[in-house]
C-alpha cells in the first residue's frame, strides 16, 4: 500500500514538473496550417507566401476573438456560419476596472511570439478606448485582406476605426445614436400626455427637463434611476478631450454641467444613487418601477432593459423613444482586425456579414431591435409605415427617430484614457452622492485614482 502511494506521489510530482515546462509542446504541434478548401492535403506550411497564387488562401484552424461581454457573441452565433474546420474561440473578460484592456494588451504584445492558432484574429473595442488600438501596429489595414468600406456605413464609425493617417482597421456592426426612453404610463401621470411629440416638447432643453424632474418628484416618481444616467448625454457632447495636447487633465463644461445637475438631482431626490449598470437601477424597469426616463441607444433595449421585457413583471409596450434634451451617442462595438491573424478570409467574411449583408442586417433590426451600421437598411425601416418596435416600445418606429439622430453624430475629442476616466469619475462621485464623503474628498480620490492609473496625465493644482 505504502509503495503504491509513494509511486503515485512521485508520479504526481513528475507530472507537475513537466506540466510547467511542457506548455509549449501542444501549441507548436497545433501550429501547422491547413488550407481552407476541403480535400487539399494538410501539409504544414510555415510560409504561406510560398504557395502559388491560384491556390486557395490558407486559413488557421482556430479563430480567436477577444471581447468584454456576450452581446456580439450572440449575434455572431446567430447570423454567422463558421467555415468548416474552423473553431471559434471566445476570450471574454469584463471591462470593469480596465480588466479587458489589460488582458487584451497582454495578448497583443505577445502576438508575435504566439503560435498561429493562439494569435488573436479579431477583437472588439468600444468607443471609449478604440483609439488606443487603432493608432497602433497591433491592428491591420482592412484593405490588406480585401475588405472595402462601403458608403452605407456611418461616417463616424469609419473615422473612429481609422488611424490619424486615415488607414481603417476595423468596422462597427452598430451605430449608436441615443435618446430618452420613457415610461408612457408615468408620463401620462406627470405630464398629462404620453404622445412622443408632446413629451419631447416638454423635455427638449435641460431647463425643461429639470422642471419635469421636479413635477415627477412631486407625484412620487424619479426622473432617472441612476445618478450617471444622463452622463453620456453630456460627456459625448464635450468640446474638448479629457486631456490637452500636453496631457494636462481638463474638465469640459459638459462634464461640470453633468456634475452640477447630478448634485441637484441627488439633493432633491430626483434620481437614485445607483450606478448606471446596478441592479437597483434596472429594477426600476419593472412594472412596479417609479422612474420616468432612461437614457440609451438601441443596444440598451436588450442589454439593459431585460427587466422591462420580463413576461410577468415587465411592462412591454409602456415605453416610447424621444430625442430628449440633447442629441448624443453612447458606446458602440467595433470589430478590429488583429495584425498577425491567419484567418484573413474569415475576417473579411465576418465584416461583410455585419455591415453589408442586408438579409442579416434586416433580421438584426426586425428580430433584435438593433440599429445597424448600414444607412440603406435603416433608411428603409425608417420610412416603412408598417414597421414598429413591439419588443419593448408600443409599436413606435424607433428607427425613424434614431435615423434622424444618427445624422449628427461626430467623432471628436476622444482620448485613450476615456474609459477609466469616465468610470473613475462616476465611481468616486458615487461615494459623494450616497453620503460617504464630501465632494472635495470624492474629487481628491478621483485625482489620486488618475495619478495611480495614468502616471503620464498631469493633474492641475487643485
Amino acid at each position: 500500500m505504502k509503495k503504491v502511494l509513494a509511486i503515485l506521489l512521485a508520479a504526481l510530482m513528475v507530472i507537475g514538473l513537466t506540466a510547467c515546462g511542457g506548455n509549449n509542446t501542444p501549441t507548436t504541434t497545433a501550429a501547422p496550417q491547413t488550407t481552407a478548401a476541403p480535400g487539399t492535403t494538410a501539409a504544414p506550411t510555415t510560409a504561406p507566401t510560398e504557395a502559388p497564387t491560384e491556390a486557395p488562401v490558407t486559413q488557421g484552424k482556430v479563430f480567436n476573438i477577444y471581447a468584454w461581454n456576450e452581446e456580439f457573441k450572440g449575434f455572431f452565433e446567430k447570423y454567422y456560419t463558421v467555415p468548416e474546420g474552423v473553431t471559434v474561440n471566445w476570450v471574454i473578460t469584463p471591462s470593469d476596472n480596465g480588466a479587458y484592456q489589460q488582458k487584451l494588451d497582454e495578448a497583443l504584445l505577445n502576438q508575435e511570439n504566439a503560435a498561429d492558432d493562439d494569435k488573436i484574429d479579431m477583437f472588439l473595442a468600444e468607443a471609449d478606448y478604440i483609439g488606443k488600438y487603432v493608432d497602433s501596429p497591433y491592428t491591420m489595414d482592412i484593405t490588406s485582406f480585401g475588405f472595402q468600406n462601403v458608403p452605407t456605413m456611418y461616417e463616424y464609425t469609419i473615422k473612429a476605426a481609422s488611424d490619424p493617417s486615415g488607414v481603417c482597421k476595423g468596422v462597427s456592426f452598430q451605430c449608436c445614436p441615443a435618446g430618452v426612453i420613457y415610461r408612457k404610463s408615468i408620463a401620462k401621470d406627470v405630464l398629462g400626455t404620453d404622445v412622443p411629440e408632446e413629451v419631447q416638447a416638454k423635455i427638449d432643453t435641460w431647463e425643461k427637463f429639470d422642471a419635469v424632474a421636479a413635477e415627477a418628484k412631486a407625484k412620487g416618481y424619479y426622473m432617472t434611476a441612476s445618478f450617471a444616467e444622463t452622463f453620456r448625454a453630456f460627456s459625448n457632447n464635450c468640446t474638448m478631450p479629457w486631456v490637452d495636447a500636453n496631457n494636462n487633465l481638463q474638465f469640459d463644461p459638459q462634464i461640470t454641467a453633468w456634475m452640477d445637475q447630478t448634485r441637484e438631482y441627488i439633493k432633491n431626490g430626483y434620481t437614485l444613487t445607483a450606478g448606471v449598470w446596478d441592479q437597483e437601477k434596472t429594477n426600476e424597469m419593472f412594472k412596479t418601477g417609479k422612474t420616468l426616463c432612461f437614457f440609451g441607444p438601441a443596444w440598451y433595449y436588450n442589454f439593459c432593459m431585460t427587466n422591462a421585457q420580463d413576461p410577468a413583471e415587465g411592462c412591454v409596450g409602456d415605453w416610447c423613444l424621444v430625442k430628449g434634451p440633447q442629441a448624443y451617442f453612447w458606446g458602440g462595438t467595433w470589430l478590429l482586425a488583429a495584425t498577425g491573424s491567419d484567418n484573413a478570409p474569415m475576417l473579411k467574411d465576418i465584416f461583410e456579414t455585419f455591415t453589408v449583408n442586408t438579409d442579416v442586417l434586416n433580421k438584426m433590426v426586425k428580430d433584435d431591435n438593433q440599429y445597424v451600421n448600414n444607412t440603406d437598411v435603416v433608411k428603409a425601416f425608417a420610412e416603412d409605415p408598417n414597421y414598429g418596435n413591439t419588443a419593448i416600445l408600443d409599436g413606435q418606429n424607433d428607427i425613424a427617430i434614431f435615423y434622424e439622430l444618427a445624422k449628427d453624430i461626430k467623432w471628436e475629442n476622444h482620448t485613450n484614457y476615456d474609459q477609466l476616466l469616465n468610470e473613475g469619475l462616476q465611481n468616486k462621485l458615487q461615494e459623494f452622492y450616497n453620503g460617504s464623503v464630501d465632494e472635495e474628498t470624492a474629487m481628491l480620490n478621483f485625482y489620486n485614482y488618475i495619478a495611480e492609473t495614468y502616471p503620464d496625465i498631469v493633474i492641475p493644482a487643485h
Binding site: 445607483a274 460617504s436 464623503v437 487643485h462
Partner: protein, 327 residues
C-alpha cells in the same frame, strides 16, 4: 555515529548518507531561488526605475533612484499619506478578523482534545468548521455582496422590520464594510487554525494534563500554565502565517467592493493599492510598494516572534537558566 561505535565495528568503511539528504532537498532550493528569491531581488531592483505602459507604449525603464518611494510617502493635498492609510486599513481588517479567529480556534481546539469532554462526532464538526475555507474567497465575497447589497435580502428584511430606512447602504458605512470583511476572513480561517492548533495540543503528553488536574489545577490554570506554554511554537507559527496572509489581504475586499475600497478607501488594503498600479504595468511603483509590504511583514513578524517567544520560553530551559544564574 560516534567514534567509539565505529571502533567496535572494526575497520569497516563508513558510508555517509548525509549527501543524499542534500540532494533530496536540492529541488526545493532550486525552485525557491528561481521562483522566489530571484524575483524578490528583481522587485527591489525594479523599484528604482520608472517603468510603465501608457496604452500600448512602453515608458522607461529609466533609473529614478528613490523617487518612487518619495512619491509613495508624499502626502496628498488633504494631508493623507495614502500608503499609510492603506497599511492601517490592512492591519485593522486583519486584527478585526484574527482576534475572534484565534480565540474561537483555541477554544474549539481545547474542547475537541479534552479527554474530559470527549466530544462525539468530532469528524463531522471538524469537517463543517473547515468547510468555509473550501469556498473560493471571491465566491464568498460575491455571496456577501449579494446578501448585503442595496437590492439584497438583508436590506429588504431590515427595511421591513423598520431597522433601517430605504436610503441606508451597508457599503457606505465604514464599520459595516470592514465588519463584513473581518467576518468573512474569520469564517474562512478559524477552521483551519482550529485543526492546526488541535494537532499541536495532541502532540502534548496527556499525562501532563492529568497530573496537573490531580495536583488540583482548574481548567483555566491548566490552559495558561500547561497548554499554552507547550503549544507556543505552533501558536506562534499559526499567528505569523496568519499575519503574513493578513498583510497580503486582497481578494475578499477587492471582490466585495469591486476594487473600490468603499467607503472613502477605508477598506482598501496594501495589495489592492499595488493592484491599482497593475493597470499600467507600473513595475516601478509596484516594486516600491512590494518592498514596503515586505518590510512591514518582516518587521511585524519579528516583533510578534520576539514578544511571544520571550514570554513563553521552554519552561525546562528557563528553569535551568535560572539555576545557572544562582550558581
Amino acid at each position: 555515529m560516534s567514534k567509539k561505535d565505529s571502533k567496535t565495528l572494526g575497520p569497516q568503511k563508513s558510508v555517509s548518507y548525509a549527501k543524499w539528504g542534500y540532494i533530496f532537498i536540492l529541488p526545493f532550493f532550486i525552485v525557491y531561488i528561481v521562483f522566489t528569491l530571484a524575483p524578490q531581488f528583481l522587485t527591489i531592483y525594479n523599484s528604482f526605475f520608472e517603468n510603465y505602459r501608457s496604452g500600448l507604449k512602453q515608458i522607461g525603464p529609466n533609473f529614478v533612484g528613490l523617487d518612487n518611494y518619495k512619491a509613495l510617502f508624499t502626502a496628498d493635498p488633504s494631508g493623507t499619506v495614502r500608503i499609510l492609510k492603506y497599511a492601517a486599513n490592512t492591519l485593522i481588517l486583519w486584527i478585526a478578523g484574527a482576534v475572534p479567529q484565534f480565540v474561537i480556534a483555541l477554544l474549539l481546539a481545547i474542547f475537541f482534545t479534552s479527554y474530559r469532554l470527549n466530544i462525539k462526532g468530532q469528524g463531522f464538526f471538524k469537517t463543517v468548521i473547515y468547510m468555509p475555507n473550501l469556498i473560493m474567497a471571491a465566491a464568498f465575497s460575491m455571496l456577501f455582496y449579494t446578501l448585503f447589497s442595496r437590492v439584497g435580502p438583508i436590506q429588504g428584511l431590515l427595511e421591513n422590520w423598520g431597522v433601517v430606512d430605504k436610503s441606508f447602504d451597508f457599503f457606505s458605512v465604514r464599520i459595516t464594510v470592514r465588519g463584513m470583511i473581518a467576518l468573512m476572513n474569520f469564517l474562512m480561517w478559524f477552521g483551519n487554525t482550529t485543526i492546526v492548533l488541535m494537532a499541536g495540543i495532541m502532540g502534548i503528553d496527556q499525562a501532563l494534563f492529568e497530573s496537573a488536574t490531580i495536583d488540583g489545577a482548574n481548567s483555566v490554570q491548566v490552559f495558561f500554565r500547561v497548554t499554552m506554554p507547550l503549544l507556543m511554537p505552533i501558536f506562534v507559527y499559526c499567528l505569523i502565517t496568519a499575519m503574513i496572509g493578513g498583510i497580503q489581504m486582497f481578494d475578499v475586499p477587492q471582490v466585495l467592493t469591486n476594487g473600490k475600497g468603499v467607503p472613502n478607501e477605508f477598506t482598501r488594503t496594501l495589495v489592492m493599492y499595488l493592484n491599482g498600479y497593475l493597470t499600467t504595468k507600473n513595475y516601478g511603483m509596484g516594486g516600491a510598494i512590494s518592498v514596503i509590504i515586505f518590510i512591514i511583514t518582516g518587521g511585524l513578524s519579528a516583533v510578534v516572534y520576539k514578544m511571544l517567544s520571550a514570554q513563553y520560553k521552554d519552561p525546562e530551559r528557563q528553569h535551568r537558566q535560572r539555576k545557572g544564574n544562582v550558581i
